[in-house]
């Protein structure tokens, strides 16, 4: 199994703008990782560089310390599971699973043993003898996955949006299977997806990409609770993080007529930081408080959405550099909360749940967050 290292990788397509800006990354043996980002963020380019379908313009790919940058895909021992299952439907499930082994001239006896093991892991033992034709989408996708797992020499399995074709209500079953398999086998898994649930559920470490750059690497908790970049705050979570334009004084952010207390250290750093300043706070962490409470912001509800499980209120406040220009934020309230358009809400931004961003990057009391965000 394998440790994958990306050293100073960047990529520019012929004549185009850079698809991938310089990045460094290490994926440990046996870990589960996700590359998460919107379409066009560079995640598929990165996937193709790892699998060997694409040679990076600059930088090196190392698998277990060995430079494979110039090695073709078949020499890398990396298996891929695509969005649409690639299965030979006239072959039996057994023969489909055996295919990569037969290609490598593994003795039949060994093939049988290995395929039966994988069949059991996939809960498909009873289906090994039947033809693949007519199987459901999730069964076909399990076979694609099995074809990657069946090879003992496989270093890593790369998944490209593997659950796109699966019925939404059956997705969790396949996700559970993927998790169980990873618990049972020490293979390195890399999921490429635009779906936050996919990434946060399947991977222990998630790499968030935007416009060809890695904006944060971290655990699901890190990404939700401590977004290092405004893009992560926006992209992870539904609805995404609120961003309130502000200025800073000694120990507070100034939003319109309101002062929101902050760590003095953070404020000191923000004063010398470049680019616009915004305060980030998630809709679920805003707290309703008594009118005129210290540090709270006065807002006027403009729109209420009853979502069954909770209520999302959009509320406007006057703030930022331009007092006349009302800004909007969202607040998530418990199911059944009675709130109407036009109503005044005083909202507190809890210190521990509020992050100050300069030019998109989190300003932290220490230097750790910034370093982390560059992976």
């Amino acid at each position: 199994m394998a440790r994958i290292e990306l050293r100073g990788i960047s990529h520019t397509y012929a004549g185009g703008t850079p698809a991938l800006k310089p990045l460094e990354m290490v994926w440990e043996d046996g870990g589960s990782y996700a590359l998460l980002g919107p379409s066009g963020c560079g995640k598929t380019t990165l996937l193709n560089i790892i699998s060997g379908l694409l040679r990076p313009t600059v930088g090196a790919v190392l698998i277990d310390g060995k430079d494979v940058t110039r090695a073709p895909p078949e020499e890398r021992n990396i298996a891929q599971v695509f969005q649409f299952p690639v299965v030979y439907d006239t072959m039996t499930v057994f023969d489909n699973l055996a295919f990569p082994l037969r290609n490598r001239r593994v003795p039949e006896g060994e093939i049988r043993k290995r395929v039966e093991q994988i069949g059991e892991l996939l809960e498909m033992s009873h289906q090994l003898g039947r033809r693949a034709r007519g199987l459901s989408a999730d069964e076909l996708q399990k076979i694609s996955l099995g074809r990657g797992l069946v090879r003992k020499d496989v270093a890593a399995i790369l998944f490209d949006e593997p659950l796109t074709v699966i019925d939404p209500h059956a997705k969790w079953l396949l996700r559970r299977k993927l998790k169980q398999i990873h618990q049972a086998t020490p293979v390195t898994l890399v999921y490429v997806t635009h779906d936050q649930v996919e990434a946060l559920t399947l991977a222990d470490r998630v790499v968030v990409m935007n416009e060809g750059s890695v904006v944060q690497q971290g655990s699901p908790e890190d990404l939700f609770e401590r977004p290092a970049h405004t893009f992560v705050g926006h992209f992870i979570g539904s609805p995404g993080m609120n961003f309130l334009p502000c200025t800073v004084e000694e120990d507070a952010a100034v939003v319109g007529a309101h002062r929101v207390p902050l760590d003095a250290n953070v404020c000191a750093k923000a004063r010398v930081a470049k680019g616009p300043l915004v305060l980030g706070v998630r809709p679920e962490f805003l707290r309703r408080v008594e009118p005129e409470s210290r540090g709270a912001i006065r807002t006027t509800v403009s729109h209420v959405e009853e979502l069954g499980t909770h209520v999302i209120a959009s509320a406007s406040y006057s703030g930022g550099a331009d007092e006349q220009d009302p800004k909007e934020l969202k607040v998530k309230l418990p199911e059944g909360t009675k709130v109407r358009a036009g109503e005044t809400l005083w909202l507190e931004l809890p210190l521990s749940r509020t992050t100050l961003y300069a030019d998109g990057q989190a300003v932290s009391g220490d230097a750790a967050v910034r370093a982390e965000s560059h992976g």
């Binding site: 919107p38 379409s39 019925d167 939404p168 209500h169 969790w172 996700r175 559970r176 998790k179 169980q180 618990q183 635009h194 779906d195 936050q196 649930v197 946060l200 559920t201 699901p220 908790e221 990404l223 939700f224 609770e225 926006h234 992209f235 992870i236 979570g237 539904s238 609805p239 995404g240 998630r282 679920e284 729109h303 959405e305 009853e306 979502l307 069954g308 499980t309 909770h310 998530k332 418990p334 199911e335 059944g336």
Partner: protein, 370 residues
Amino acid sequence: MKQGIELDHVTRIVDGETYLSNITMTLEPGGFYVLLGRTRAGKTSLLRLLAGLDRPTTGTVKQGGVDVTRRAAGQRNVAMVYQQFVNYPSLTVFENIASPLRLRKTVSQEEIDRKVRDTAKKLRLDALLQRLPAELSGGQQQRTAMARALAKDAELLLLDEPLANLDYKLREEMRVEIRRLFQGRHDAVVVYATADPVEALLLGGNVIVIDEGRVIQRGATLDVYHTPATERVGEVFSDPQMNVLQVDVTDGAEKQIRFADEVQFPAPAHLKDLPASAYRLGIRANHVRLAQVAESDVRVPAHVEIAETSGSETLVHATHGKTTLTAQVEGVFRVAPGTKIDLYLDARRLFAFEPSGRLAAAPRMDHGTH
């Protein structure tokens, strides 16, 4: 249009397969209707029939009091937006939006100009009017298709899962916009098909729940959500899936409910009047928690299958015997498959369905929630 759309015993059968079954209903002018159903429930079949693209096998369709059953799509005043982004690739955004107006020939260039710009502004396309569809993002392409449908001023506007092909972030932004777009169209009937319960709730208005080609419930969207007439409606109108427990209600000094072998609890107030019998109890995932909150919460020991997280919330799927239960909790919660946990069901939030699926009792909506 004064009388809206009237469907009278409409059935559509193709090659022996029933696509739509005996639908009778009236869609009021100015009404906003969400057509909610799972994949292959008949949503697209119904929209195509309303558009005049398909004919019913039996039954009639009236539009504004006139029988249009046999009238072709081109002869009806209908606009439709599809799940796939459909635009004219060689025309600019401006010309795409203008195209139905140009077809009409009676609209002046001035009027076209004004209409296109107004509509483009509403859909935030005003800076993109000279672009070609290929130069737009998916979200912008779908906005263009919607602008074309809106600019047409049709009596009947049909939208077939218009957001289904968008990334979830874009979908999140656009579904908020959509409601604003269609408010204040008092002349037209708008039908919006979706498989997504959250989208249905966001859009509000009235909901038509469709399943296996039949309309299984109609009403104000929130009412149907809170009082599903059958277990199937509850299922279609819940995401994540509604939990269902097979139980026995027994008489005694106090009415008891027994689930599986080891879980027994007193019937909550709203289920006290149920005659003793077998029932299926439904409870939405957000009313199943991982810690006891109310005294009446029902503890169910379970084994974790998987925890799925979106960041904002986590779905914990767990099994008790043969029953799978899902709890929806706030934030990121990580727990390994196989872990033993206790689930707590908010007894005040239980729906009771008869074995036939019919609703026997629903939670009272007046008490506190969390």
